[in-house]
């Protein structure tokens, strides 16, 4: 329902065009739409009340300008209010302290803390060139420490060992010393999941907080959480004085009302959102963008930023030049292209952020699945350089060898070759019509929020 809110509002408010101002009567139906949408989106009831009240105050007496129809004007008010409740801008992590800067994670069972530790470690390492150590004080959940160890290994963070027979406080004290000894810039501390009403466990984390003196205490909350988000966030905030919130599992179709609840109940900024299980699936939280997404305007800004960071510019330029010169787009180029798409989190991730794409039927979305890229890559990797350059030489027996080498079937190889042919054709078209530039301009156009749906 969140996705369609903007359309609904425009419909609801269509009747009042021609009237000069938004008034109590003409916005009451629209306010009801907002309430319903927010409740369906799992925003806590108290937060919904405050929110709609604020929207009403903002809306009343607004002059309906000729540039926007009343629906659009109202959406803009709702959007602005969403942004202002969720915080004006993304707050980065605060690490300015004598190293190691300790970051303590807290949250309910299964929220995504351990995974988020790995994601943060990777982010701090790759984008901020920090030396990161991690430690688990989760002595309760079976294999919790192993889980962190595997992940630390994967992201190349220093793993400070601990074991389930130890006291969490003992582990914590040792970890700080050890992190300092190893000159780590940051120490990420993973804790066991706990219920806010479990006094013993809440006391434990308070003690941990006291010993560790973290510069950041981050509350990890599941994006699918319902009304309880407000209650739990409040309890954790009261116990620990949180410095920020991370919204995990935001990659699904949950409306994510929990974000709004937690933010307005605790007043603490949402710093990141988790967009998948892999360790690179962590994105800075941009309230304005989430508000746009909530209202169905897409999140093109994040996409462009991400594209700029991840796409290997040199390769892209080389490819563009090659194509402009009318050279053939061979399988090696195709391989690079696949890699770059993969770097950007796969086609699914890209589509999701385009305006209107979330409404694409599931069937259409599944046509472009992620595993497909990986398989295509493997197939190309199993070819000889010559085959990559001159795909036409690939005959039956070569296909058999390639299929075997890549653990696929001949039809898969055939499909790949066909897809490459199609891509080649598309590339030709793009260069002919000066399409590249057009495409870029198209992307730019999507950034303008002026493109309200209808």
């Amino acid at each position: 329902m969140f996705e369609h809110l903007s359309e609904r509002l425009i419909r609801t408010l269509r009747g009042i065009s021609g009237k000069a101002r938004l008034s109590e009567e003409n916005v009451s139906a629209a306010l009801r739409d907002v309430r319903m949408a927010l409740l369906e989106a799992d925003v806590a009831l108290s937060v919904v009340k405050d929110f709609t009240e604020q929207v009403k105050i903002r809306a009343l007496g607004q002059v309906v300008s000729s540039a926007l129809n009343p629906g659009e004007a109202f959406i803009k008010i709702v959007h602005d209010q969403l942004v202002s409740v969720m915080g004006e801008a993304n707050d980065a992590l605060n690490l300015s302290t004598t190293p190691p800067a300790v970051i303590l994670m807290a949250g309910l069972q299964g929220a995504g803390k351990t995974t988020t530790v790995a994601k943060l470690a990777r982010l701090l390492k790759e984008r901020h060139q920090k030396k990161v150590a991690v430690v688990s004080v989760d002595v309760y959940r079976p294999a919790a420490i192993e889980q962190l160890e595997v992940l630390a290994d994967e992201v190349g963070a220093i793993f400070l060992p601990s074991n389930a027979q130890e006291e969490p406080l003992v582990i914590a004290r040792r970890a700080v010393l050890e992190a300092r000894r190893q000159f780590a810039d940051v120490l990420l501390v993973d804790t066991a999941g706990r219920l806010a009403i479990d006094e013993k466990m809440m006391d434990e984390i308070k003690l941990l907080h006291g010993v560790l003196e973290p510069i950041e205490t981050l509350f990890v909350v599941d994006a699918m959480t319902g009304q309880d988000a407000a209650i739990t966030a409040k309890a954790f905030n009261d116990a620990l004085d949180l410095t920020g919130v991370i919204l995990a599992k935001a990659d699904g179709d949950a409306r994510g009302g929990a974000a709004l609840s937690v933010r307005s109940i605790t007043g603490k900024p949402i710093k990141f959102i988790g967009m998948g299980e892999k360790t690179d699936a962590l994105e800075p939280f941009h309230p304005d963008r989430l508000a746009s997404r909530i209202l169905g305007m897409g999140d093109v800004l994040t996409l462009i930023e991400e594209a700029e960071r991840k796409v290997d510019k040199k390769k892209a330029q080389k490819l563009a030049r090659k194509i402009q010169q009318g050279k053939k787009f061979d399988l090696a180029d195709f391989r690079d292209q696949l890699q770059q798409m993969d770097n950007m989190g796969g086609i699914g991730n890209m589509l999701e952020k385009m305006p209107g794409m979330s409404q694409l039927p599931a069937a259409a979305q599944s046509q472009v699945n992620e595993g497909m890229f990986e398989q295509m890559g493997t197939i190309i990797d199993s070819m000889t350089p010559n085959e990559r350059r001159f795909p036409d030489v690939i005959n039956g027996s070569r296909k058999q060898r390639i299929a075997k080498g890549s653990g696929t079937q001949i039809p898969d190889v055939n499909r790949l070759l066909k897809q490459h042919k199609q891509m080649q054709k598309m590339m030709k078209k793009v260069t002919k019509k000066g399409g590249m530039r057009k495409m870029m301009r198209g992307m730019q156009g999507m950034r303008q929020p002026a493109g309200f749906p209808r």
Partner: protein, 323 residues
Amino acid sequence: MIRVSDVDKDLLEDDGERPRFWGRLRAGLGRTRSQLAAGVGNLLLGDKEIDDGVLEDLEASLLQTDVGIDATREIMQALTSRVKRKELNDTMALHTALATLLKEMLRPLEKTFSVAGKKPAVVFFVGVNGVGKTTTIGKLAKYLQDTGARVLLAAGDTFRAAAVEQLQRWGERNEVSVIAQPQGADSASVVYDAVESAKARNFDVVLADTAGRLQTNTNLMDELKKIKRVVNRLDPAAPHEVLLVLDAGVGQNALSQVEQFDEAVGVTGLIITKLDGTAKAGVIFAIARRFCQPVYFIGVGEHLEDLSPFNADSFVDALLAID
């Protein structure tokens, strides 16, 4: 005069005279008391007259328990029409009627979980990330063993870091074998091996863990279908049960979870975990209106014995308990 309290119109309007409901609710919130209990507890404070305020408060408490707009509206309509007909005259009667209605809504979800006569019964555990699938398998293994069944576990989550080790730990606690392959292996082949081995070794039941996945991720949902297809080859009736695990804290997204997991692999039953917290899975009322899968078990903690069969009456009683 009693007016039908319409969620659309009245729900969030504050008349300014009554203390804000939220504040009142917070002040009185006991330790393990549910939102709903906290919200409707005041109905029991005396045999007061039922006025608009009382009904609006009730409506708000239902929404705060994740019952959702549609189910809340339905419950409110049923109750207000009885108030109008003068069948319910005071708040005590309203409270009783509420309890009865909620129980009636959930009773169709009661069903005894049985693996008898399958040899082996193949049970899949599916659900979104972190809801408690693996832990519930650990608990259910004990539960079934206590009934005399021979249980085998299949470490079908080959994706998440240390998921295999986690299940193995539960296996050790129960002294139950776990069929596993290293992380990254094909999940379907692990489950296949387990079923094959259970057949050969004459086990009664295979509990198959699967990786958490969001229902919108088509690739991962396809992977789940594949596990089912592969196991089907060994026994056309397998899996005999596909249990969808839901977290008590989940909001309205639970509806999409039930719908999409069911569409992919045919959900035969639900399990609600983490009911020992403040969240009480009110969305189950919305689920009960739309789907027909039973709730077999509820999870109330992280220990072996923290699993019990679902009983509608005790569930609602706990939901409304004020102690």
